[in-house]
């Protein structure tokens, strides 16, 4: 049964308040946990607005099939996949072209952060499952995948934080929902490595002047900085609570 959703006329009102009550420069509420899966070497879970995404890391381990192994470093593999029930209209479990492209760009965003050269001939496999989607899933995926890598004890140059910004109803906004992405003028997902102060994922679709592009880019980087803070807190939190409980 196909159900149609009536798209609202306006996504942002005259007072610059968005449909979900946020200001233009506000992130959706975020909740992150690490080490939640028993079998994976590392894992993490994020809820960002209505997004619910799980990431698991296996490795470094023997590469299968063997002929894919690299002689001088670990092979970083990444699979971004959406559960059939993650969106309104059931999505077929087979990988779509979008999932294949996103798997590629997500892998490329994480690679500069991992010391792959320490473990030649092995593979580090990252699996991302989107359980519920509401826009900005590739960014939330990168945020949670980099935590899963850290949770697996894989040496990293830095964590990677990701966030999207864009243009909706003529205004520049941070962290777009699915509705805002579909109804807006531009969407710009971005991933950022704090140490290098450099961008490892950048895509844009829509229409922006160069000036707007610069402002949107900077807005997304600022969003990433906030998310990086949350990532650090989450990694430390597990150990701090035990320390506090036990040392009185």
């Amino acid at each position: 049964m196909k159900m149609s959703r009536k798209n609202p006329e306006k996504l942002i009102d005259e007072k610059d308040v968005r449909l979900d009550g946020r200001g233009l420069n506000e992130l959706r509420p975020i909740k992150i946990e690490v080490g939640i899966l028993g079998n994976a070497d590392g894992s993490a879970y994020i809820e960002q607005g209505k997004n619910k995404i799980l990431a698991a890391v296996y490795g470094p381990r023997e590469t299968h099939p063997k002929h894919l192994a690299l002689p001088d470093r670990a092979l970083l593999r990444c699979r971004y996949h959406m559960a059939p029930f993650s969106v309104d209209e059931r999505k077929s479990p087979a990988p779509s072209r979008r999932e294949i492209e996103l798997s590629k760009v997500i892998k490329e965003s994480l690679e500069p952060a991992v010391f792959t050269e320490y473990y030649p001939r092995t593979s580090i496999d990252t699996f991302i499952e989107v359980l519920q989607a509401d826009g900005g899933t590739r960014c939330a995926s990168i945020t949670v995948a980099s935590l899963a890598l850290a949770d697996a004890g894989i040496p990293m140059r830095s964590l990677v934080a990701a966030c999207a910004a864009g243009k909706v109803d003529g205004r520049l906004v941070l962290d777009l929902t699915d509705l805002e992405d579909k109804g807006g003028e531009a969407d710009l997902p971005l991933a950022w490595i704090p140490n290098l102060n450099a961008i490892t994922l950048l895509q844009m679709d829509g229409s922006l002047t160069i000036d707007e592009f610069e402002k949107t880019l900077n807005m997304a980087v600022e969003g990433c900085k906030q998310i990086y803070g949350l990532q650090k807190e989450t990694l430390k939190a597990k150990y701090i609570t035990v320390k506090e409980e036990v040392e009185e």
């Binding site: 470094p60 952060a113 830095s158 036990v246």
Partner: protein, 238 residues
């Protein structure tokens, strides 16, 4: 001499730990004169060296390490052993039999089969080949009985304790023989399953609270109070 954290503070990958003429120790890297953490852990500053005691890391083989592993494959003249490292380790038939391997005479699965556990030592390892094992020293060989506990390898030093204080206490209090593999695998053999369980519980507690202080006392307390219900039939031997 700029450093940025208090001793034993928890740091995360990418945190700037020190600058200028510090030396980058374990779980750190240096770039443009700055030293950063590569793993989540407790930062330590020692003289001019900064390092991180990682809270979680997988085992990387090191020559001389004693490890406990499981046979995953029987090959022609050798066994492949899973030592919980990124690379499976190799145990040659000639090492176990004591002379060159003869396929017509020697049936490898009857010596060690898939699923068997062994205590072994790493004799060779470099990044181009699989780590090589030996079981030709005393206290090494196939494991016949006992219980296995797997913990993250970075916590093994805590299980041993300063000058062996923690592990001696555990052996004494639980009356078990405890073999600690550097790869995070620990073998516990005791007179009774209850004793073994006690040792396992203690090890798990150490793993969970490894980053806290006053641990040895707390573990000793826990073991003693749990022992209350166990049969006090202590063996007369040593």
């Amino acid at each position: 001499m700029p450093t940025f954290y208090e001793k034993r503070e928890i740091v995360t990958p990418g945190d700037l730990l020190a600058e200028d003429d510090y030396v980058a120790g374990d779980n750190t890297y240096k770039e443009d004169g700055k030293i950063y953490a590569t793993r989540v852990g407790l930062v330590q500053y020692e003289d001019r060296r900064v390092y991180v005691v990682a809270l979680k890391a997988f085992y990387v083989p090191s020559i001389g390490d004693m490890v406990i592993g499981k046979v995953i494959e029987v090959g022609l003249g050798s066994w492949l052993i899973d030592v919980r490292a990124p690379y499976p380790a190799l145990l040659l038939a000639s090492d176990v039999i004591g002379r060159p391997f003869k396929p017509q005479r020697d049936d490898l699965p009857s010596i060690l089969d898939v699923g068997d556990l062994v205590i072994a030592k790493i004799v060779a390892y470099d990044r181009t080949r699989a780590p090589l094992l030996t079981i030709r020293e005393p206290d090494l060989g196939k494991i016949e009985r006992g219980q296995i506990v797997e913990i993250t390898p970075t916590k093994i030093p805590r299980v041993i304790g300063r000058k062996g204080s923690m592990i001696s206490m555990l052996k004494q209090e639980t009356n078990c023989h405890i073999t600690v593999g550097q790869n995070g695998v620990i073998l516990v053999t005791g007179k009774s399953p209850k004793n073994e369980q006690l040792a396992v519980m203690a090890i798990r507690k150490i793993e969970e609270e490894a980053h806290t202080s006053g641990l040895t006392d707390r573990v000793t307390q826990m073991v003693r109070s749990e022992k209350g219900g166990i049969d006090e039939n202590v063996s007369k031997e040593s």
